[in-house]
Symmetry: C2
């Protein structure tokens, strides 16, 4: 079970990036995303994708993130450019009930101490979306990306154009 916790989401400013975080979490093998700020529009949009493309991915917004971090029983990983190198720490990260925390631009300083691991996907500034994709890809292996979600919509790989198969529900 892999859960992504998104901190610092501001609905007006971060809607699109947080949508990317949630869809990346789903496509790369996580089971759920929790978003610190309440955002019904974001929930609707992600649930719409799950309904159309399948799977059991869950989203919840407006969560009490400090309590979640304090009470989490499994492993807590914070993805940050300031953290330890991914390739160094990945083999040591216990995978049971994993919580992956990604922040928006600024995260509260205390976060660094509330998790078990601060992990850097490269020590350069880039994107929590890219960091999450690479982290999940390294954690679960490239096969995770190719798995079937068995939804009513399915995309067939195509060299030119869009081949979307719609199955009866």
């Amino acid at each position: 079970m892999i859960t992504v916790l998104r901190l610092g989401h501001r609905p007006a400013r971060d809607k699109r990036v947080t949508t990317h975080v949630a869809l990346t979490a789903r496509a790369f093998g996580a089971d759920a995303v929790l978003v610190s700020t309440r955002d019904p529009g974001l929930e609707r949009s992600i649930r719409g994708v799950v309904r159309r493309f399948g799977g059991t991915f869950r989203i919840e917004t407006g969560v009490a993130w400090r309590r979640i971090l304090n009470e989490w029983q499994g492993t807590k990983v914070h993805l940050t450019m300031y953290g330890e190198r991914l390739e160094k720490v990945l083999p040591r990260i216990a995978r049971e009930d994993l919580l992956i925390v990604v922040g928006a631009e600024k995260v509260p300083r205390e976060l660094f101490d509330l998790v078990d691991w601060n992990v850097a996907v490269g020590n350069q500034p880039h994107s929590e979306v890219a960091a999450l994709a690479i982290f999940l890809d390294r954690l679960l292996g490239p096969a995770a990306l190719g798995r079937e979600f068995a939804g009513p919509l399915r995309i067939r790989p195509s060299p030119r154009g869009k081949d979307v198969v719609e199955s009866g529900t």
Copy 2:
């Protein structure tokens, strides 16, 4: 030489996602990003990162994207959830003077025919930022992510907190 071409950028709506595209391009080993819509604020922000963190990454906005695609001499790859599977086509993609095209929500239909390869990083909806990161990671190998940029600011990996080294310029 690897160039990323970002299409469909709307400065108000996509500023943050396009910033993530550009920074991901830089951190994962591309040399430049071209953005279809003019956006001086975006240019300033990316050049600021390059100045502080180093390297020779370039950004240009307001480019004539159709002309660029028509006149490009090297290989042109479009990252799209509708494309062929990455693992299948990657070995066949010539890497000389590579142009990687990523769109925002909708791309013009003609784009699919203007490129050499339409490539899917998984056939599920997620994020052009994640797709770009994984594509560059598979293309260049994981070592690319760890390389030094020799800028005035350097981040030292740390288990707890922020260790930023500022060197004299």
